[in-house]
Symmetry: C2
Subunit: 381 residues, 2 copies
């Protein structure tokens, strides 16, 4: 039982395939009567348009590809775990954006060293590509960008033809440093750094260094981790064993490492934030369930995906983009691990995604916070 095609519809409705096509696509120049007749037949036969044929003929697929690095799921390599959540959020945002413009999302994960075959295949099947999480090499990126619209996420500034959407590491981190140094008066700061290979890690670390010294604080030590909670734990132990005095504040370049640090400190009964303040970066979901709640910088992962897709849409439509690099704002989220008063139970949901437990939310320092949705009011009690 072959799926019906426009030929079948045309025959049954007694018209030509051109007319069928026009009716299905609501083109002008058709009498209402003819259109309705065709549509009725389509309904009757359960017609579903063949997307490949349409794409081929139309010259565009109305599809955006999302390329992510394969996240080895077998892994005790825990570092991937939260980055995985980051990727999920990006995909979610991309999907939201795609839906709005009537596009579909083609998802492919590619193994880090697998060559570009998978990426190439994506090029031939989409109108544009979003590359997340450094899923392809710089070389591959250049190759692809030379012949296909591409948006890179968490990438350096564009070198080739690719567009870049990034978050404002500098702004968020500098406000966080300011909070620690100016509001809390911490002057001895330790930094748990990320991998050298990550542009995000580098940007954040450099910002800490510059801001701290500018504000009169001192970097009393840095330790290099790999963004994993395990590396945070390891570093916290190293610091604990050391004879040097503890830094007054430990700034971690992402939340996962902060989680690891917090675990070790808590286990050793070193009071956070009384003895050591701890901060993170990203605002992963877990951060607000920790005790003490982790003060961090929120990274708008969904917006990254959404922005990437809508930029590609503009490019596909031929719109000339004003900028080749978009920087999305970040926001400091103050909880208690920095030394601010702790929130009683759980804070309220932040703007878009949360468990929705009703308590007004503490606002991020120096950043606009969305007003709590009205319907949360009735839950407060």
């Amino acid at each position: 039982m072959r799926a019906p095609t426009i030929y079948d519809l045309a025959e049954k409705a007694g018209v030509s395939i051109a007319t069928v096509s026009r009716a299905l696509n609501a083109k002008a120049g058709l009498s209402a009567e003819t259109r309705d007749r065709v549509l009725a037949v389509a309904d009757e036969l359960g017609y579903v348009p063949n997307g490949t044929a349409r794409g081929l003929s139309y010259g565009a697929t109305e599809t955006i590809g999302v390329v992510v690095a394969t996240r080895s799921t077998n892994a005790a390599l825990a570092e991937e775990h939260e980055s995985l959540l980051f990727v999920d959020a990006v995909i979610r945002g991309a999907e939201r954006s795609a839906q709005r413009i009537g596009f579909a999302l083609l998802l492919a994960s590619i193994r880090p060293r697998s060559g570009w075959e998978a990426a190439k295949r994506m090029v031939g099947r989409t109108d544009g590509l979003v590359v997340v999480d450094r899923a392809v090499s710089e070389e591959a990126m250049a190759w692809i960008a030379a012949r296909h619209p591409v948006v890179a996420l968490a990438w350096d500034s564009p070198k080739g033809d690719e567009l870049v959407v990034r978050i404002d590491n500098v702004g968020g981190m500098s406000r966080l440093v300011e909070h620690l140094v100016v509001e809390h008066g911490y002057t001895e700061i330790g930094v748990v750094r990320g991998p050298e290979s990550s542009p995000d890690a580098t940007a954040r670390w450099q910002t800490v260094e510059q801001c701290a010294t500018k504000l009169g604080a001192r970097i009393v030590g840095t330790w290099v981790g790999d963004f994993s909670a395990a590396s945070g734990e390891r570093i916290a132990r190293t610091i604990g064993r050391s004879t040097a005095p503890m830094p007054r504040a430990l700034m971690c370049m992402n939340d996962q490492m902060a989680v690891g640090v917090l675990n070790v400190l808590t286990a050793r009964e070193i009071a956070v934030p009384e003895e050591v303040a701890v901060t993170g970066f990203d605002d992963i979901i877990v951060s607000r369930y920790l005790r003490p709640g982790l003060t961090t910088v929120r990274q708008p992962a969904e917006e990254l995906g959404a922005t990437a897709v809508s930029s590609l849409y503009e490019v596909a439509r031929g719109t000339a983009l004003a900028v080749r690099e978009m920087v999305l704002p970040t926001e400091v989220v103050v909880r208690s691990s920095c030394g601010c008063a702790s929130t009683p139970v759980l804070e309220a949901p932040h703007s878009e995604t949360d468990l929705g437990v009703g308590r007004p939310r503490r606002e991020g320092a120096g950043a606009d916070a969305a007003p709590a949705p009205d319907d949360l009011a009735e839950m407060a009690g």
Copy 2:
């Protein structure tokens, strides 16, 4: 600068397009010399095959569609938040499986009441569909399944041509009840139920009822929530206000509601598990960061996605499937909210996805637990 096609390659290599196609697809019946020449030209021109054309000609897209319900992101409608994580996990599993078989994933979210247009479009662009989270109505499901391979997730048993992949609600929940009643000796059980419309919620609740009475415990009350943390809070407050004595154990039909319940109980200084034991279902990530850690039933979300995709692959290849309904095992995860001794800092990662903080994990009652990966050993300390 039009993208090069096989015609361009054929001309440049001095062969016919058929030969080019054969070379690119590594078909037999070509001399190595010819093949290499074509491949060299392809490389030189930066050729990328057009996926739509290939799909049209080949008669299959090598793509699996994943249809999810649009998750309103503006929402204080918090119930969606964790289900959103569930969907992410399913997508991840599906992607993993798709990659293995060389398929791509086409992702589309459809608004609950938007008609099936989006779903129809997916039918015409894929070789099979995975429907997650009741994204389409029963009616639409029947329609689609009649003409396209479909796997439904979290669905009732198949009524039409669709395949169903579900989790073993009954097995997991009955083991959990057994744990509470037999091992802990709780006889007065309260149940925080889920929405009537959810087959999962219904199956879990019925299991609790049957098992509990069979084991000699008593259901002292039930409250209907909507799977959201907020509804859990609301219910916990209701219970608190009531003059009736507290149940000894509160079984929540999902983790989110358990989170809400825990929050309220903790805030009111009602000791968990000493006064009231609390359990959940799903094992969302947050559950293990709560204090006390939430005893729950792990639901293999990634496996759901992976199984769905590989089943569709079998169908696409023409393999006759032995069963139309697959039930994936669940596993009780014992933490401390049930009254078992609490784990010191954080438990170790469970099998596939975790932060990887190193401590051997408590094993689920009556279920196999994957051995802790070796390289975690060195972190212990």
